[in-house]
């Protein structure tokens, strides 16, 4: 018992090597990316104060709800959950990819669901118009036609920033005219219907851009993986027909370990972006890298060289 | 050198804000080999404190407690000591033999020896029938008896017993008494504390009377009875306490 103080002394002394060890561990944690950076995630730190260690579990539980809403078609309800899951586990790439997809593809489609119904209603209304009314409401007809055009162009021409500005301008133009009309004719069902219809392309643009934004946010949390660069590149390519951006992000994707189809899509993107030489080079690279792509690549290269166009 | 000694043994409890309780006040005891020594006193007089100090469960504020000349933390010394605490309450999930085996192994006794002693001791205290019973099902008397068996597992030369007859019926008391006398005949030194005057009367060779943490009388029963002109131990007890209280009024 006389030497009992030695126990306490040694115990306290051991804190010194412990400290050094901790420094080394911290270094490893940074190196191996085991740490969640406070700088990027102040919200997450706050959440951790509550959840302390069960983030993964909480994320999974929320994910279940996302699945539920998806299956029952309640797309809008998925969104806050997707945000929450992404916030809890920003390194869970699936969340970002699926979230972006839901926004840019599914919700994009869903906001246009009412289009045909609204159009039909309007047709019925039109039939009951007198000749006088038809003249007065001609601006509505024009707006309608323009709307239809824009909707088509969204799908067929794409959604580059330039094009989007153009669409929005045109929509705004007609919206203003219709608002003028609405001031004279209060509570006109036809006007309301047309206004709703004009919202559709706006919404589509909005959700496409939200999807892109969501993916970009995911990239900031996962900058060293190909996955989200690819998702974004693909979204730009396929949905946005925004080839410069598609190329930009696909080129970033190939900087990290990635599967072969990424190279394939990049080749197509180069072509669509007018960079034919690069497209050919990319196909040649892919041919070497992945023999399974050989026949496709050869055909592509042949078409590019002879016709200057290969991708349908 | 006496087998068990205390020298100016003092224990003061500090109960926080300047409140002190004297557990033991400068107690001097000398117990020789072969004695059956009894410590008497009302509850709270310091009997248990004294025993705990001897065994190293409590630490003295000043003074010394020695067994076989060694301090209470001496591991070798403890091999020769057996202890029965007040109100024994053992690991209720063990059976009697398991308890004895547990303690036996702490004495570094070989398993064969433990088994043999267990057999003997269970018979001695009359618990051979209850071999398979878990201690949680034991009656108070049975616990007392298994406690006694446990204190004997190492065949100690010194037995320290704190209130060994609490909760025993008269037959149990007699059996314990007889056992103690028998063990003493075998040469064991026994130190016991009790407030059952009749038991102490019949068993102890010398007694000490404790009161309010002080050792107020020490000697053979015959001498003390003469000194106080008391006819029974009870008489002696009451008189000695009165005398002390007169001389040392409570503050």
């Amino acid at each position: 018992m006389k030497k009992n103080w030695i126990n306490l002394f040694v115990a306290l002394l051991l804190f010194i090597p412990l400290r050094f060890l901790q420094v080394s561990i911290d270094y490893h944690r940074k190196l191996e990316d085991l740490e969640t950076g406070l700088l990027l995630l102040p919200g997450q730190a706050a959440g951790s104060l509550v959840l302390s260690g069960f983030k993964g579990l909480a994320a999974d539980l929320l994910w279940l709800n996302v699945e539920e809403y998806w299956h029952s078609g309640q797309h809008y309800k998925m969104l806050p959950l997707l945000e929450a899951v992404a916030w809890l586990q920003p390194t869970y790439i699936t969340v970002w990819a699926v979230g972006g997809w839901h926004m840019a593809y599914n919700i994009y489609v869903q906001v246009g669901q009412n289009e045909s119904k609204l159009s039909e209603e309007l047709e019925k209304m039109k039939q009951s118009w007198s000749l006088q009314e038809k003249t007065k409401y001609r601006v509505l007809e024009e707006a309608l036609a323009e709307n239809k055009t824009i909707l088509e162009q969204l799908d067929k021409k794409g959604k580059t920033d330039e094009l989007v500005r153009d669409y929005l301008n045109r929509l705004e133009n007609y919206e203003q005219k219709i608002n003028l009309l609405a001031e004279e004719e209060k509570e006109n069902k036809a006007i309301e219907t047309v206004k709703s219809l004009l919202h559709i392309p706006r919404n589509k643009i909005y959700w496409y851009q939200q999807g892109v934004q969501f993916l970009k946010k995911g990239i900031t949390y996962n900058p060293d993986k190909y996955d989200l660069y690819f998702e974004l590149g693909w979204t730009y390519y396929h949905k946005g027909m925004d080839y410069p951006n598609a190329v930009k992000y696909l080129e970033k994707a190939i900087k990290h370990p990635h599967p072969d189809y990424v190279d394939d899509v990049l080749a197509h993107a180069y072509e669509k972006n007018g960079q034919i030489q690069k497209a050919i080079a990319q196909w040649e690279y892919l041919m070497e890298k992945a023999p399974s792509f050989r026949s496709i690549a050869e055909r592509m290269i042949h078409d590019l060289k002879t016709k200057g166009k290969a991708t349908p | 050198m006496a087998l068990i000694e205390t020298k100016e043994l003092t224990k003061i409890y500090e109960l926080g804000w300047k409140k002190r309780v004297v557990g033991l006040n400068r107690v001097n005891l000398e117990i020789e080999q072969g004695e059956i020594f009894g410590i008497l006193g009302p509850n709270g007089s310091g009997k248990t404190t004294c025993l705990k100090l001897l065994l190293g469960v409590l630490f003295p504020t000043s003074g010394e407690a020695l067994i076989m000349g060694k301090g209470p933390l001496d591991v070798e010394m403890k091999k020769h000591v057996g202890f029965l605490p007040e109100n024994p309450y053992y690991y209720d999930y063990l059976t009697g033999p398991e308890l004895l085996k547990f303690y036996g192994r702490l004495f570094d006794m070989p398993l064969a020896t433990i088994r043999k002693r267990t057999e003997e001791l269970l018979n001695l205290v009359g618990l051979a029938e209850a071999k398979r019973l878990a201690l949680r099902h034991y009656s108070k008397g049975m616990l007392e008896r298994i406690g006694l068996a446990a204190s004997l597992i190492n065949d100690p030369e010194i037995l320290v017993l704190d209130e060994p007859t609490t909760g025993l019926d008269p037959i149990g008391c007699k059996e314990t008494r007889d056992l103690l006398l028998q063990l003493n005949k075998q040469g064991k030194t026994i130190l016991l504390s009790s407030h059952f005057l009749s038991e102490v009367e019949r068993v102890c060779s010398r007694i000490a009377i404790f009161h309010r943490g002080n050792l107020i009388e020490l000697g053979t029963l015959k001498d003390l009875l003469g000194q106080y002109q008391a006819s029974t131990l009870e008489d002696l007890f009451v008189k000695s306490i009165e005398k002390f209280d007169q001389q040392n009024p409570v503050q």
Partner: protein, 254 residues
């Protein structure tokens, strides 16, 4: 050390026969089993779910067993007064402390293995071969549980049960947040605050060191070096806790 082992076995026997920790074990098994019922997710998501749930369950219920086990180890002896008899035997006080801790290790080991077997069994049932990273994560969780246990044991030698439970859980939560605290401290200019934060960071057990499951679950490998260093951290801290426990217990009067 044989005597410490005798005490350890007795402690282990107690936990088997007293069944108080069974409930926690059963809860843990139930939770892990429940993760099986997410088969409507895609295979990849389901596997992630099972792993997340199981790791969390093993760590959390393991922590409960660690804390309550260590708590009961010393306090039950004192309450039941069996400690008097024990201390009258030829053992030293450090035999007692070390024996109790080894007993806790045994208890944790058995419960932990049961939970892990169930978890691994579930993975195999889902036709997923657990890779070495999963075992690394489990290994570190076990080391963490031992650390939690040793700290609670140390606290039990000089604090009351009530304080111990609250403080142990408090440390459990804080110990997971230390890296955030440290990052916050890095940003402050105030030297006093920095020094204080530094000291706290050293003293508080960094349970978060042992948490590599977030990475493992998304399939990212962790180096053996890291595992080794974190394990060493655990060993040193356990030594600190046990030494403190011995120090206080040697002074303790019962």
């Amino acid at each position: 050390m044989r005597k410490a082992w005798v005490i350890a076995l007795n402690t282990f026997k107690e936990s088997l026969r007293k069944r108080t920790l069974y409930i926690v074990l059963v809860f843990g098994l139930v939770v892990i089993g429940a993760s099986k019922f997410f088969s409507f997710l895609t295979a990849q998501e389901e596997l992630k779910m099972i792993q997340d749930v199981s790791f969390s369950a093993i760590e959390f219920f393991g922590a409960l067993i660690a804390i309550f086990g260590a708590l009961g180890a010393i306090s039950s002896e004192i309450e039941k007064r069996t400690i008097y008899t024990l201390l009258s035997k030829p053992i030293t006080r450090y035999h007692f402390v070390i024996g109790k801790f080894i007993g806790q290790i045994l208890i944790l080991l058995v419960n932990f293995i049961l939970l892990c077997l169930f978890f691994i069994g579930l993975l195999l049932f889902k036709k997923f071969t657990p890779h070495i990273e999963i075992f690394k994560a489990l290994f570190l969780i076990f080391a963490e549980l031992l650390l939690i246990s040793s700290i609670t044991l140390a606290l039990a030698t000089f604090t009351s049960d009530a304080f111990n439970i609250i403080f142990s859980f408090f440390l459990y939560i804080v110990g997971h947040l230390t890296s955030y605290g440290r990052q916050l401290m890095e940003r402050t200019e105030n030297i006093i605050l920095k020094g204080l934060g530094d000291m706290l960071y050293t003293i508080v057990p960094n349970y978060e060191n042992f948490a590599i499951r977030d990475k493992v679950v998304v399939g990212v490998p962790v180096s053996w070096q890291y595992v080794g260093k974190t394990f060493s951290y655990g060993v040193i801290y356990i030594a600190i806790a046990i030494l403190i426990a011995i120090y206080y217990f040697q002074k303790r009067e019962v």
